[in-house]
């Protein structure tokens, strides 16, 4: 698959720190106060010094000539309650937070260095809207992180074992065995696909589809071998690979998977990486698996489909307790949509596998696609609900 580039890179610089005392994703029926912030070269002017508890929107304009940040701090002036970073000169960015009654501090950081300037008190007064503050949140987030990192290591370890078996069978010419373990081994990859994709060259080396190649590019990885194992749908004149090529592809597959295994040993995940990872996995389903483009020759797309959903469900389960405290309705909705999708997938189980994509009816494919969209909409609210 083509890499989804952003969740683990651009989105990696924030996450854990922005949580205590604030929640985004305010219910639509509780529009709160709107404030503006002027972040200039030497000032940080907020349009008001107080606002009622509930949803607050700060519209921060950078009128200076350096990149700036805006911080909303707890009354100790240290703990970050909300922030908007990387605001280029001349740009305006909105920060939406849910604040409980209390004393806060606002500050800007033009140039993104130092302690910040223009620190000023900001008072949130009592209002009809009650905002709960969860003091255990950071511990919950750390638990979710540790558990997910452990899940990723476990899946990649199983991927290594399966790949060794697959590659040995393929290079020895035992194609029945290779075909038999192809889809089940790839499931371990697909469960953590958004993590695997974050390692530059490894993803294209291991998982590139033929259509993703450019003229003259060396094609390696799972799908290059897939075509050789299931040549029935290959183009006219497709010649089976010579033995040396098979051994080369098998060797590279084992080697690159071992490299992946090394790289995941030290990974750690912010909350936003986890929620966006779940979203990324569902996008993979929506664009590649439900269309039958991923497993173009083996037609084992539903194995990948299930594995992507497995991975997304694990990510969701890890943060579900946090979500229940913040937005129980969204948690209910996600529980129901995950279950509905699983019911559709279970209906296609055959033995310990699934119906081949080419044997699905148009109505069955449509039902799966519709349910992916039904799950996708609430799932994509997850980041904003949990992280700011």
């Amino acid at each position: 698959m083509r890499a989804r580039l952003l969740p683990l890179t651009a989105v990696s610089a924030f996450g854990l720190f922005a949580l205590t005392g604030c929640v985004a994703n305010a219910p639509a029926d509780s529009a709160g106060a709107s404030l503006t912030v002027d972040s200039s070269t030497d000032g940080c002017t907020v349009s008001a010094g107080e606002a009622p508890a509930g949803n607050l929107s700060f519209s921060i304009t950078n009128s200076g000539d350096q990149v700036t940040e805006f911080y909303l701090l707890a009354d100790d002036g240290l703990r970050i309650v909300g922030e908007a970073e990387n605001i280029g000169p001349g740009l305006t960015r909105d920060l939406v937070v849910q604040l409980a009654e209390g004393q806060y501090v606002t500050a800007c950081k033009p140039g993104m260095t130092g302690d910040g300037i223009g620190k000023a008190g900001f008072t949130v007064t009592a209002s009809a809207q009650v905002v709960a503050v969860d003091e255990d949140l950071e511990a919950q987030i750390e638990t979710a992180n540790v558990n997910y990192a452990s899940y990723v290591r476990d899946q990649v370890a199983q991927l290594v074992t399966g790949t060794d078996t697959f590659a040995a069978a393929y290079s020895a010419g035992d194609f029945d065995t290779a075909r038999g373990v192809y889809a089940s081994t790839r499931s371990h990859w697909e469960r953590v696909e958004t993590v695997a994709e974050s390692f530059g060259d490894l993803d294209p080396q291991l998982d590139l589809r033929e259509a993703d190649l450019e003229d003259g590019q060396d094609w390696t990885g799972w799908h290059a071998i897939e075509k050789d194992l299931w040549p029935a749908d290959a183009e006219a004149g497709f010649a089976a690979y010579p033995t040396e090529e098979r051994q080369r592809l098998a060797g590279l597959l084992v080697q690159d998977t071992a490299t992946l295994n090394e790289k995941v040993q030290t990974l750690s995940f912010t909350l936003s990486q986890q929620t966006n990872g779940a979203i990324g996995l569902l996008d993979e389903v929506a664009t590649g698996k439900v269309t039958g483009e991923e497993e173009f020759w083996s037609h084992t797309d539903l194995w990948d489909f299930q594995a992507n959903i497995d991975g997304a469900a694990v990510l969701y389960a890890g943060v579900r307790d946090i979500l229940v405290d913040k937005d129980a309705d969204l948690a209910d909705s996600l529980d129901a949509e995950f279950a509905a999708l699983q019911t559709l997938l279970d209906a296609q189980r055959v033995g310990d596998g699934f119906t081949l994509y080419t044997d699905l009816s148009a109505a069955e494919i449509k039902a799966l696609a519709d349910q992916v969209n039904a799950l996708g909409e609430p799932l994509n609210q997850l980041t904003a609900s949990l992280v700011l």
């Binding site: 280029g88 001349g90 799932l379």
Partner: protein
């Protein structure tokens, strides 16, 4: 050439009559061909007389010019694009005759007139009307009709030189290479000939393609066609940059009509064969957007993918829409504000050896696909002096662009666009001289 400005409508006495017998056979009876009654329903004239003040709808761009209209012309709001295959059995003379007929009809329609001697409703009562008539009462609406020649016109897939022009094919006029991620559908790609019809009224653009394809029956047939409902580029500084279906402004550094030097250097062919001098190369790509996935993507990622903010279209490095992006400016963790895979970075001329193209794309929504998803996207059209400029930029995008997660190229075609046509001649005549 200088920037085009809308001209007041003037009847063009050269262009109404002059269809070949063959062309008219498809329109009216042979018995009345060549009577030369001239103007069959001068729509522009009528519209101009009744309009209180000039509006974009009354713009008229002359067909006979140094360069073909529809390239540096301020981008109209609507598109109907068609690729044609020349029918089996059509000879070189037949092809030339078709081009002559197309030229006459295109000039008439660009001037806001019906085609043929009698137009839509004034002909013999026992003959089918020459003009199909759905544009009756509509002004010219800034209609431009731009013709192009595909590689297969010079040599078809079987290696046959059907029209004796193989030796005149420029080396650059060949199929575009396969780019990473391409999912091209043959039925939406290629073609011997193309016609780009742009207008500010969709009915006028459709009328043009409909009548030109009717004229071609028996000589050429439509291979594929595309409607576009909203321009995604501005080709004049007088136009605001429109948004694509992702909701973003893109291509703000497009070549504008007010930059004749840029057009000379980047759009018009200078170093090609003589028949193409003053022409250009047209690249057409049907780019499908995975709208549903994009719409549920968080705003942070949407802006990071483009490298611009969504509200104003300003680069994330700051400023306003037309501020030059500062790709070196870093923010938190010393990461650039405009990421390495951001579309604006990868597509920017400064990252592509100064390559600029004149883009003239349109949004499309062609209903829904079998999975109930909008069949929507961008019908990308660019004009450049050498198609290798497109190839270089697209290779860079296809390899690295974060946007690839949300788009796929499903149609592709390349055409050589001959220069403008002189009165009394026909489009592309130098190729057959």
């Amino acid at each position: 050439m200088s920037a085009e400005t809308p001209l007041p409508p003037t009847p063009d006495k050269h262009s109404a009559a002059g269809l070949s017998r063959r062309g008219l056979l498809g329109l009216a009876g042979a018995g009345v061909a060549g009577l030369g009654l001239g103007v069959g329903g001068d729509r522009a004239y009528i519209a101009a007389a009744s309009a209180a003040a000039p509006s974009p709808a009354t713009a008229v761009y002359p067909f006979y010019q140094e360069h073909q209209a529809g390239i540096v012309t301020p981008a109209q709001d609507r598109l109907h694009f068609a690729a044609f295959d020349v029918s089996a059995g059509t000879t070189r003379a037949g092809l030339i005759e078709l081009l002559r007929d197309w030229t006459v009809a295109a000039a008439a329609m660009a001037a806001g007139r019906d085609i043929g001697d009698f137009g839509a409703v004034s002909g013999p009562y026992d003959a089918p009307p020459e003009d199909t008539g759905e544009a009756l009462g509509l002004p010219a609406s800034g209609l431009t009709i731009t013709f192009g020649f595909g590689p297969s016109l010079f040599e078809n897939a079987d290696g046959v030189d059907r029209f004796g022009i193989r030796a005149r094919r420029p080396e650059e006029l060949t199929e575009l290479p396969h780019f990473p991620g391409d999912m091209l559908e043959p039925a939406r790609s290629g073609g011997d000939l193309c016609i780009q019809a742009c207008a500010d009224d969709p009915q006028v653009a459709v009328h043009a393609i409909r009548n030109l394809s009717r004229i071609a029956f028996g000589r050429a047939v439509i291979r594929w066609s595309q409607l576009g409902f909203g321009r995604t580029s501005s080709t004049s500084t007088s136009q605001a940059t429109p948004r694509n279906l992702f909701g973003f402004k893109d291509g703000t550094s497009n070549i504008k009509a007010e930059e004749p030097d840029a057009a000379d250097g980047h759009v018009w062919v200078r170093d090609g064969p003589a028949w193409l001098a003053g022409g250009s190369y047209l690249v057409a790509r049907r780019i499908r957007m995975t709208i549903e996935t994009w719409d549920r993507t968080i705003l942070r990622e949407q802006e990071a993918v483009f490298g611009r903010n969504k509200g104003e279209g300003a680069p994330l490095s700051g400023g306003t829409e037309f501020t030059t992006p500062d790709f070196a400016l870093t923010g938190r963790a010393d990461l650039p504000l405009i990421g390495a895979a951001a579309h604006v970075r990868l597509a920017h001329p400064s990252r592509n050896e100064g390559i600029r193209m004149l883009r003239r794309g349109y949004n499309f929504v062609d209903g829904t696909d079998a999975l109930g998803r909008l069949d929507a996207g961008l019908f990308f059209i660019s004009f450049q002096s050498n198609p290798e400029h497109y190839t270089a930029v697209q290779l860079n995008l296809a390899r690295h662009d974060a946007l690839n997660e949300y788009i796929r190229h499903v149609g592709s075609a390349l055409f050589a666009v001959p220069p403008g046509t002189a009165h009394g001649s026909y489009v592309g005549s130098a190729l057959f001289a």
